[in-house]
Amino acid sequence: MMKQAIIPALLLAVGVLIPLLIGENPYITGILITVLMMATLASAWNILGGYAGQYSFGHAAYFGAGAYTTMIILSVSDTNPLVAMAAGVVVAGLIALVTGAIVFRLRGHYFGLASIAVAEIVRLVVLNLEFTGGAQGILLTDVKFYGLDLNSKNPFYYGMLIALVLTLGITALVRRSRTGYYLQAIREDQDAAASLGINLAYHKNKALLISASLTSVVGSLYAVYIRFIDTHAVLDLRLSIEIILTAIIGGVGTLWGPLFGAMLLVPLAEILRSNVLGEALVTHGMVPESSPVGMFLKEHLAHAHVLVYGIITVLCILYLPKGILGLFRRSGK
């Protein structure tokens, strides 16, 4: 047990120290916050998708539930953001229970499709209601939290770090419990699982509820961090898919895989988007700026990040079905 704790402890220490080392650098801190956020979201998704094998394509619904509930409460009252966050968890939990009651009657691909449908329903409802701000979204001008300077990004960095530690901690606990064994049994073979006394619906709902609650916490944090949300930012299908890709590329059904995936994908997306790669090649004289290749890099590489993302995903699915983490662990859990 001691040995197993060393690496997580080191990672945590690095996580805690990074903002102190890099000082006040909003750009880098912003990227790190996104890494932590995607790692937490993918880890939360992983409890349901990776361990129980129920691939939800609608996790944006729970993220959005946390974000919207928090923003609506904070924009009309001086509530403590933590209370607003808890309210978000309740709303996300309710959506999860209703979703579970409907979609867990379905298996396999049908479950995936139904989860998209539920998330789209949530998105359209929010888009068409008055008190959610409709298509305009919600803007939060001021928020207070125990005297912290919320114009700095550091409080949000640590907030996301706590969310990640919480999510990984819960995953580790679940994994070494009866529930963890039951979820994996459900993933492997539902009929066999039922014949061994496992109540399928109950355990799937349990996994969904845990997963949805953690996702909603991240949604609340994100909303207060950005202070502006609309359905495009927090309820989009694109978000659900990014969560899944992060988990798949990192390693589905492993404790550390989603964190790995986020550490790889978020900086990669940022590098491509900001065209660091193209500029570096040009400034180091590898490629003349006026050459056709140089022109191409300058003009188009920044737009190609989605393409690169897609290619990595396809390669991962073809050659690394257990994700990047699967490279290092050939066997075992």
Partner: protein
């Protein structure tokens, strides 16, 4: 006094207009090894699926250990003490043999420690000790069948339904499994046994029911069954059933 652990009363099962099981009755006594035999399509596995909650019965009653269990969910049936294996084995492929059996043991305990202890006991009973750490999906078929047995035994069933547990096994493996089944019965578990291998069935069963085309064709001791004209006809063909 003889106690009937399982009573099947006038059970019918239709799939649309097709009759899969027609008015079948039988009773299984405690600590019996009870054989359910019949040609392909006779309704044996359908009967197991009805007994264990995978199919709802169309009519009739199934009473297990004094409780009516028709149309209970499979996991409820398991927790009442009736557990089954599968004709086509269903290992939890990417989990180890030990983890597979622990999933079974969790039906009776919440503790990880106790579950592991119970699982190791059952793994020892079927002789899979050397394979405990292997992934279940990587085992050959003979060992997968033993794993099914260990896993289902770990749920501590009162009654065990074995669906062609010897199917696909060679002669030696078959007799090894039959020995295990006898010892399971001797430790107090009732067994209902679907099997094609007549030699295996007659050597081990106390009582046999023969199904044919969804109906009960005969019931009796192995000696009575092997000399029954209807049974011979159903198995060897010819006559009005073909």
């Amino acid at each position: 006094m003889i106690k009937h652990l399982l009573n099947v009363n006038h059970v019918n099962k239709y799939f649309g207009g097709n009759v899969a099981i027609s008015d079948v009755c039988f009773s299984v006594e405690e600590k019996q090894i009870f054989g359910l035999i019949g040609p392909n399509g006779a309704g044996k596995t359908t009967m197991f699926n009805c007994l264990t909650g995978y199919y709802p019965v169309s009519s009739g009653d199934i009473v297990f250990d004094g409780k009516k269990i028709n149309n209970r969910r499979p996991d409820e049936v398991c927790r009442l003490g009736m557990a089954r294996t599968w004709q086509r084995v269903k290992p939890l492929g990417s989990l180890s043999v030990l983890d597979n059996v622990m999933v079974g043991a969790f039906a009776v305990t919440r503790s990880l420690h106790t579950a592991e202890k119970m699982a190791r006991e059952q793994i020892h009973v079927v002789g899979l000790d050397d394979y405990a750490a292997q992934l279940a999906g990587s085992l050959p078929i003979g060992l997968k069948k033993k794993l099914e047995l260990a896993r289902v035994l770990a749920t501590k069933p009162k009654m065990l339904l074995l669906d062609e547990i010897c199917g696909g096994l060679n002669h030696t493996e078959t007799w090894a499994i039959l020995d295990i089944i006898r010892s399971i019965r001797n430790s107090g578990t009732t067994i209902v046994f679907i099997e094609h291998d007549m030699k295996a069935v007659t050597s081990i069963c106390d009582r046999i029911v023969v199904l044919n085309a969804g109906e009960k064709l005969a019931e009796g001791t192995p000696a009575e069954i092997t000399s029954n004209r209807d049974v011979i006809e159903a198995y060897l063909g010819g006559g009005h059933h073909a």
